[in-house]
Subunit: 354 residues, 2 copies
């Protein structure tokens, strides 16, 4: 039987986790929502599915070294450095081409490095179910998280006809990226929509064939780079030429061979500080206090102290993140605007704080 | 004519300005609401009224050295160290006894070291008017700030019969310490009440006679300590035995020889961080940003950064005070609770942060 090949996508920057995340230390390298970095925990979560020599990591070329530190078991040659970020389609295409060289029917399990999963056992059982579907149907398998609210920041997957005798596994009708609130509420009420977890399973050859149909240049270029003797040099010249596009837009939305496997495990993309607050165990007043911190007459506050004593007094629904060189104080409902601070720092050329 | 003797009361601890104020550096030694420390500015404000050798400072014995640093012109012998704090009555009584040794009819101008005054010229003109009244009436003169709102945190002075031909200078009917809100509103509407500025003017002998009538032991002990050859030793044994009581309670409330001179200058006791925010020049969105700070989508915030870059995002009416070893984030309406942080630190024996 073909093997399983975990593909860990670790190329993000995660500016919304500033000041903890920096250009030299993006979100996936941070300890967020658990012990060990998100990347280390993603590796550990996938490890029971496949041995290290079948596992691949794709990250920015500047972060190959630190990724190796966080995943010491993965052979260094399988930590691939992107010279520039090009979103998920080129990243997955390159990984698929690398796997296809020696195991074309091998099943990729593609997972973002910076998500949080609340139940590892259930996660793996779900992934194994998806791998089975990917093998049996020769399809592109998505994992759909059962929505717990009308979130507008996620992509939604609409499930169609269920596969006979395969529980809730269904064909996918369509994808909707970040709906408005009324649409999200309609999705939630209808019971046919899932959140797009960004986790996928598919055979390398099946994916590359579908990609070749929709983006033949990208497929060809990725196969070329994967076969290059000097991979670093090939990526340096070839990778920047690829279209920056998500795998959802590039492949999934235009394919009639897409399936969704329902994911019941607790999941979060921890896209911002308030999302982290949501998944962190809070005290009786809804406060999450990390490090040397004290809350007086405060509710719903998330405080991360790394370098000094931090006190919050009479505060409500605040995020306070203390780093030795920078501090963020942000209302929970405005954590999306943290990127505006990063933009201001870029404009002011405050390189030391980026 | 008898001389003027400024008496600067610099014995407070100012815990509500934590984390900027510490046991080793109380509020009066901080740069608050202007350039230079509150103590330095208090000295400069009084300097045109009297030469340094007629000026006295009373502070905690642990702070004599730093007080001398902040007021280098004052002879070291005239910076008096209290072994323990005993509120304002003993402090003023001791100063009066020291002055009375060689200028019994000299007029003390008693001023707290940690207040903010918005107009120095008007301040001195008002004080000179008070000194005139203290001399002519041989009375105890208070300075009453014209209220701008129904503050419940201040003491109030009720003015009675005005002195003939002396403008608004009046006899005092009574004092009311920290009234409840309805009472404060009644006071404001009535137009007969002033805020007690805590600034006073009176002849040394007049004050000591009144004190001797009401607290003969305190008056006698202060005269004894003032005449001691070894003042430090005399204070160490005598001062702790004095009753801890304010001059308002100890003397003014029970005397029929008290006057009030209206004070029109901008004044604040800057009793807490929000009071400092009130007197600090704000930007168009009501934010006061000191140091390396950035506000995004925030209003009414006071940010003091001393050690790194501080950003506030989507915040409203917050106080953020950043020190190298401690941080305070506090809603403006709860700044009185800063002392609860200090209490918690005391309980936890976090000496380094106190």
């Amino acid at each position: 039987m073909s093997r399983i090949h975990p593909i860990i996508m670790a190329g993000g920057r995660g500016t919304r986790f500033w000041p903890a995340s920096r250009e030299t230390l993006p979100k996936q390298f941070l300890e967020i929502g658990g012990e060990g970095s998100l990347l280390t925990r993603t590796g550990a979560r996938l490890a029971p599915l496949a041995p290290p020599h079948d596992t691949w990591v794709v990250t920015n070329v500047a972060h190959v070294g630190i990724a190796a530190d966080h995943l010491p078991d993965i052979p260094r040659d399988q930590i691939v450095g992107e010279p520039v970020g090009r979103n998920t389609a080129p990243c997955i295409a390159l990984a698929a081409a690398l796997v296809a060289r020696e195991d074309p029917e091998g099943v990729l399990v593609v997972a973002p490095a910076d998500h949080w999963i609340g139940n590892e056992e259930e996660f793996r059982a779900t992934i194994e179910e998806g791998v089975r579907v990917a093998r049996e149907e020769k399809g592109l398998v998505t994992f759909g998280v059962v929505p717990t609210g009308p979130e507008t920041g996620y992509g939604y997957i609409e499930a169609g006809e269920e596969l006979a005798g395969q529980g809730s596994v269904a064909r996918v009708v369509r994808f909707t990226e970040k709906p408005d609130r009324p649409t999200a509420e309609k999705f939630l009420a209808g019971g046919r929509h899932y959140w797009n977890s960004g986790i996928f399973a598919w055979r390398a050859d099946v994916f590359l064939e579908e990609l070749a149909r929709q983006h033949p240049d990208m497929a060809a270029e990725c196969r070329r780079m994967a076969q290059a003797v000097d991979r670093g040099s090939a990526l340096e010249t070839g990778y920047p030429s690829l279209t920056s596009i998500s795998v959802d837009y590039a492949v999934l939305e235009h394919s009639d061979n897409v399936y969704v496997v329902p994911a019941e495990f607790p999941w979060s993309d921890v896209g911002s500080w308030d999302a982290l607050a949501d998944i962190s165990p809070a005290d009786g007043r809804g406060n999450v206090l990390e490090g040397d911190a004290l809350a007086v007459g405060s509710t719903g506050c998330f405080v991360r102290s790394t370098s000094r004593f931090v006190s919050v007094v009479g505060a409500k629904d605040l995020i306070v993140v203390d780093l030795p060189d920078a501090l963020l104080v942000c209302s929970k409902e405005r954590t999306q605007d943290v990127k505006k601070v990063v933009e201001a720092l870029e404009k002011a050329e405050r390189r030391d704080l980026l």
